[in-house]
Amino acid sequence: MNVIGAALAAAAGLALAGAAASVLFGRSARARVAGPLTALSGVAAVVAGAAAVAGASWSFATPDLLPLTGVELTIDALSGWFLLLVGAVTCVAGTYTVGYVGRSGEGASSRGALFLLPLFAASMMLVPLAASVPTLLAGWELMAVTSLLLVLTEHRHRPPQAPLANATQSDERTAARAGGAVRDAAVWYAAMTQLGFVALLAGLLWLAAVAGGTSFAAIRAGAAGMDATTAGVVFLLGIVGFAGKAGAVPLHPWLPRAHAESPSHVSTLMSAAMVKLGIYGLLRLGFDLLGGGATWWWLVLVVIGSGSALYGITQAAVAQDLKRMLAFSTSENVGLILLGVGFAGLYARSGNPAAAGLALAAALLHTANHAAFKALLFAGAGSVVRATGTRDLDRLGGLVRTMPATTIMFGAGALAAAALPPGNGFVSEWLLLQALLHPGPDAGTLLTIAAPLAVAVVATTAGIGVATYVKAVGTGFLARARTDPAALARESPPSMIVAMGLAGLACVGLSVGPGLTVPALSRIAADLELILDTGQPMVPSDLALRFDAVRATLWPLWTVLGIVAVTVAVAVTARGLGPARRRAAAWDCGDGPLTARMEYTATSFAEPLQRVFDDVLAPERDVDVTHVDESRYHVSAVSFQQRIPDRIENRLYQPLLGIMRRLGEQARGLGNGSVHRYLGYMLGALLAVLVLGVLR
């Protein structure tokens, strides 16, 4: 048993201990024991993942654990990368749990919710380790069920928030409505994830049947002789399952609901870790098990990725719910990752493994970057929700004074998520753009046209992304508080700030030293028969990002140092020039004092962008003008309401749901309670099966 085996055993043991502890301990100690145990299990997974990406290997099989097939586990560089990522996010979320869930014993700190948390984390660690179809499916379903139950944590009521302790009747009604939203989210999530599971089940079992074995090794061997149609259909089913889990448009409607309505430590785990396993699944299936496939497979991924990126960021730009905004931004980032994966496939098919390696590296680096900054952002959002009881950006503001640590952390995450230079998001976006720039001399017509269009998609996404995160930070955290809960907010407990700090450190590390990940990325690329070469051995002092296939170099460390040093120099020099700063009232047009109602809200901030994308978003506005009785020319009150519906959901899913409902109602007639009729059905079904069997 090598270091990976030991670390994985420790991870599993610690997760189980966490689950046991949350059942055994009383409500005041529960989170304080289970949270750290979960975090430690994450640390153990990080150790195992790091060893795997450094080149160690490990495998394990027990034929008796699951009926018929047993459990087969193995780890290679690709699994290691995702295990590392899941472990790191688990570590953040586990630490965060201690302060976030509190000690009320209800909702997120209930026995059940805390029992499920380490199991959810462990099941996510199981997925990349799986080395056979049944093991993968078991881990996948375990992950789906535990996360579904965790989404439901607050289905009965939202926990009472600190400043809103004196709950009135209307608050209770609001709580009940919120509970309804939670249940609605859970139903959507359950339906979508099970749809994906069915697709995966069908696809992978078919694959196993054709290849003649359920272990990945057998499938790899059998896939070589498989006919193209079967492989294509299996890959499409894989896209439904894996890209659906990743939250790619159009399989996304569950994502903004589940991420927004679940407690924040759960949304952190889901958004930063779980959706990434969808990417893992696609990489494993497409590159490894099916051995590369056809060009059109990857074109489908590129189209899905582009759609997700554009649609996700447009919706995020106009969202006023903080967590819904972050959820749509997850869709966007998943889109960019899929774009990278798709181009890796396209390049590989066009016989350019070096460019393919570059695109793959961009995608993988972006998974890590997104995990780091999205964990930070969801943890920050949770901190805000916990302190103020609202996710509505239009009701927040002024948190920079009451919650300085949270504001700094969220700001750092937003900088990374907006893909601005010193942030880590910029690094992977740079790499993605470089990959798109180097299609190679004989790329063919498809790539010649697809690559520039993809650049346009990435550029548009980046532009709108910046506006989105300026909106989130500027209206959510700066200036004056718009409501009392925001004004009375108190900073979160230390454990939550430590958790955000851990995620922040990961962001800083990835933004300053992305070059350190290159050996791991090269190993993964080599495993998938792509090439990722750095021109020269890396010099630890400059931490530059350079590759053989790219004629440009990124110096993240120097960019960061340069900006910080010059900013400090400018600030110090300017300060030395004149008298000290003083406070004064802002310009109020002589009609002061300024109130919070005069501030720009998130909705008004996004209004110009919303107007630009009016045709895409189709907002539903409701303006109600009440006139004074005496004169129609004098207005006494104006009320304005606006909803920006998810159009894809309305156009694609609502008709489908309508058909299903009608079918369901008609099917009622089949079961009228008569036993004879049911026996008749059974006979008919049996005959049909027999006839089919004979005919075949």
Binding site: L437, H438, P452, G474, R582, E599, S604
Partner: protein, 319 residues
């Protein structure tokens, strides 16, 4: 030249270039104002008037609005720093000194970082004007960013690299590579993007006094004293940077491709002339154009985006 001496020369050149642009920037602004005034039949201020304004403002103490946080205080230095870093790192005077260090995507990102700092400061004041300016500025920035990146890309395809020095020196040594359809389309797109990023007519009017039409001015309405000086100085520096990039990407001749003292001096002189000519052209253009309504601006930017996309496709297809 040994490696150490070469390193020192490179650092000195970067510093010198940053200083050159920082000194030049207010004069560029003064030049556009003077030309405009002359064409409109006014006397106008002198060339060095922006410098005098800056000197006056730098000596005065700043005020912070009652509700503003550290963001408001930090934004001007951040804006200035991003501009200075770009001014020092991009190939304006010489290409050899910055080879491999200045990436076009990084330059675009750094300029955007400055915009973001200022937009956050605008929101941080808590006034309606600040929010309005920030909202408009970010909307425009969000729509300009794709154009900038795409036209950058069209130029990069030509040489297979996003390294600015590589692109500029390739153009300087091989003139034929500059006169391509892709290059022309990218130049048009980048020119419109420059107008929008620099806050010039027809996108924004830098000399407006009506709050409702303000974009940049509304955002910085609360700044005073040395804060305002930094903001104004950085804005003129950004305009100079954008004009300089436009000049060197599409008319690269004169830039020093080797590190000789004469070459660098000629490069500096040619750069000043090129930026001056572009500034005059900008001013002349502004006299004959009206500012667009804010909600017509996206149409203009969509047009430039289409041009940039065509440029990339042309570069990829025609080679």
């Amino acid at each position: 030249m040994t490696a150490d001496v070469r390193g020192l020369v490179i650092v000195a050149l970067a510093l010198g270039q940053a200083v050159l642009l920082a000194v030049l920037a207010p004069y560029v602004l003064g030049l556009t104002r003077a030309v405009r005034a002359r064409l409109e039949g006014r006397a106008g201020g002198r060339l060095g008037q922006p410098w005098r304004d800056l000197r006056k403002l730098l000596r005065k103490g700043p005020t912070s609005p009652a509700d503003a946080s550290l963001v408001f205080v930090a934004a001007p230095p951040v804006l200035m720093a991003t501009s200075i870093v770009v001014a020092g790192a991009a190939p304006f005077v010489a290409t050899a000194s910055v080879a491999g260090r200045a990436d076009l995507i990084v330059v675009v990102g750094l300029l955007l970082l400055g915009t973001v700092a200022l937009a956050l400061a605008g929101l941080d004041t808590g006034t309606a004007f600040g929010g309005m300016g920030a909202s408009r500025e970010m909307t425009i920035a969000a729509l300009v960013e794709p154009t900038l990146l795409l036209s950058v890309f069209a130029l990069s395809v030509r040489v297979g690299s996003t390294d600015l020095a590589t692109i500029v020196s390739a153009g300087a040594t091989d003139p034929a590579s500059v006169f391509t359809p892709a290059s022309a389309l990218a130049a048009a797109a980048l020119a419109i993007a420059t107008l929008a990023e620099g806050g010039r007519i027809p996108v924004d009017n830098p000399s407006t006094h009506l709050e409702l039409t303000m974009v940049h001015e509304a955002m910085v309405l609360e700044y005073s004293g040395r804060d305002l000086a930094l903001v104004e100085w950085a804005s003129s520096l950004r305009l100079t940077i954008l004009l300089g990039l436009l000049a060197n990407l599409f008319v690269p001749w004169g830039v020093a491709t080797a590190l000789t003292p004469i070459g660098v001096l000629i490069g500096a002189a040619v750069f000043v002339v090129k930026v001056g000519l572009l500034a005059v052209a900008l001013a002349v253009g502004e006299v004959f154009t009206a500012k667009l309504r804010l909600f017509r601006v996206p149409e203009l930017l969509a047009g430039s985006f289409a041009l940039a996309l065509l440029a990339v496709l042309a570069a990829a297809v025609l080679g």
